[in-house]
Symmetry: C2
Subunit: 289 residues, 2 copies
């Protein structure tokens, strides 16, 4: 089964848990709206790619982990778009959840998706208590406080930002979760997969900064210039466009070099390069090297 | 150790997991602010009382369950107070989290507390996989969609409210979690403890409606008249004050009668009566029976 099909099937199964024919219809619809059609599904793709490189001996567990991680990512997008954060009208080329439904339903959608992510993993405990416990803790660590994406977003409310902690938690955390949880799903130690996730996260952040600077709202599918508007740290502001492009190439090379020795090493390197191409914005000729 | 001390110790331990000296300070402070000093801690008190009635053979597990449940309750208060819901300036006699900190930090505080609740339970998996899995699933079911407190709040966005589903999910869900999780912590079947939680939840809802109608903001510690203001269903509107008082007595008698036969049955009945006294508002003489 192609990875994308594994991911969509796992997501559909997870969403089914949130519906029973007696749930409030609007919130039920908002959960579907916020999770499908998905974006690039980059995090679960990385997770399953790492699991396959490690042997993927428990594919059901890996599928549950992939869905849980993507649910947390979707929840974070819904809450990040709220009026009190980015106040974004558009997400993935369609109205954001609070625009399409309402602000109360957007808050509840994010909350429900967080709970659903942990429910999906909790259901794997009886068959795989050891790996499930590690998966639950990895997801909690990379989502909440003190070092997950909640902490990352929290840094934006600080009078003085610790830039390292900000980037590690804001963007890299869920990529670290992707590589760690992929390894755990297949019974491998998560520690040696940490750096791959951290470097992909860093690359993603720089690519996002470049897109924010180079693209228009229609191509991006969400408002541009948000970093400038909110005074957030940004690789393009710090290094210029050419400097940021050089930095991105350097990080990606490091990511590929960091892949632990394993049967699927070459395939994984190809996946990272492929994901990198997908996140790279079209760069005007004058900046190309 | 008195119950209140067990609960506060468990809450303090849980909160410690969210701090590491490198977390964003404001969000860290907001997590503490939202969880202490606590309110009556009714849900964890019920949970531990049920666990003790069932033998409490794994007190550490029961403590973790109590903290997890209270964290979810605190998260729900923070999000319910947001401008897009109740827009409450005051909670537990002090400024609500979004007033004391900011709206972004209030959203993140709720999100972080939800994650922390599941982290606390996830840490119990290695020692008690069977019970931990049941606790995780009970908490997820009573918190998220389709039947938890998120669903309950979601009903308020529906054009037509299913009143039964609304009350079961909005208020009763976390009381059902309290009795179920107390039983699970001590290795008992949760099913026979469902009704006690549901009835305490119903009593609590009627008592809350009475307080909303009878008290002023200073005594209540939060804005009054919120149900009228938001057009929410309310026992006092439906039955009048005397009718609601009669209903409350009737439900509490049913709750005590529903307690399953167990060594701690009498003590548990006293606890339920005691909690009932605590939630009962001072009733003007003309309404007393």
């Amino acid at each position: 089964m192609p990875l994308s099909q594994r991911i969509e099937t796992a997501m559909a199964r997870a969403l089914d848990l949130s519906q029973d024919g007696q749930a409030p219809l609007q919130l039920g619809a908002a959960l579907h709206y916020a999770t499908s059609p998905g974006g690039a599904r980059i995090r679960p793709t990385i997770l399953l790619s790492v699991a396959m490189s490690c042997g993927d001996d428990q594919p059901k567990l890996a599928n549950a982990a992939a869905a849980a991680l993507e649910l947390i990512h979707c929840a974070s997008l819904v809450h990040d778009d709220l009026p009190c954060f980015d106040d974004a009208d558009v997400r993935r080329g369609k109205p954001s959840v609070h625009r399409a439904f309402s602000e109360p339903l957007a808050v509840l959608t994010g909350d429900s998706l967080i709970v659903l992510a942990f429910e999906v993993l909790s259901r794997t405990v009886p068959d795989n208590p050891d790996r499930a416990a590690q998966l639950l803790l990895s997801l909690a660590k990379r989502t909440g406080m003190p070092g997950g994406i909640c902490a990352g977003q929290g840094w934006e409310s600080e009078p003085k930002i610790d830039l390292g902690a900000y980037h590690r938690s804001k963007t890299a955390a869920l990529f670290i979760a992707a590589t760690e949880m992929g390894a755990i799903s297949a019974g491998h130690a998560p520690e040696e997969w940490h750096d791959l996730g951290a470097l992909i996260g860093e690359a993603f952040q720089v690519a996002d900064d470049l897109r924010d600077a180079l693209l228009d709202e229609k191509s991006l599918g969400k408002p541009v210039g948000q970093d400038d508007l909110h005074g957030r740290p940004n690789a393009v502001t710090q290094l210029g466009i050419k400097g940021a492009l050089d930095r991105l190439s350097h990080i990606l090379a490091g990511a590929i070099a960091s892949i632990p020795s394993c049967p699927g090493e070459a395939a994984l390197a190809r996946m990272v390069s492929h994901q990198a191409e997908k996140i790279m914005p079209a760069v005007p000729a004058k900046y190309r090297v």
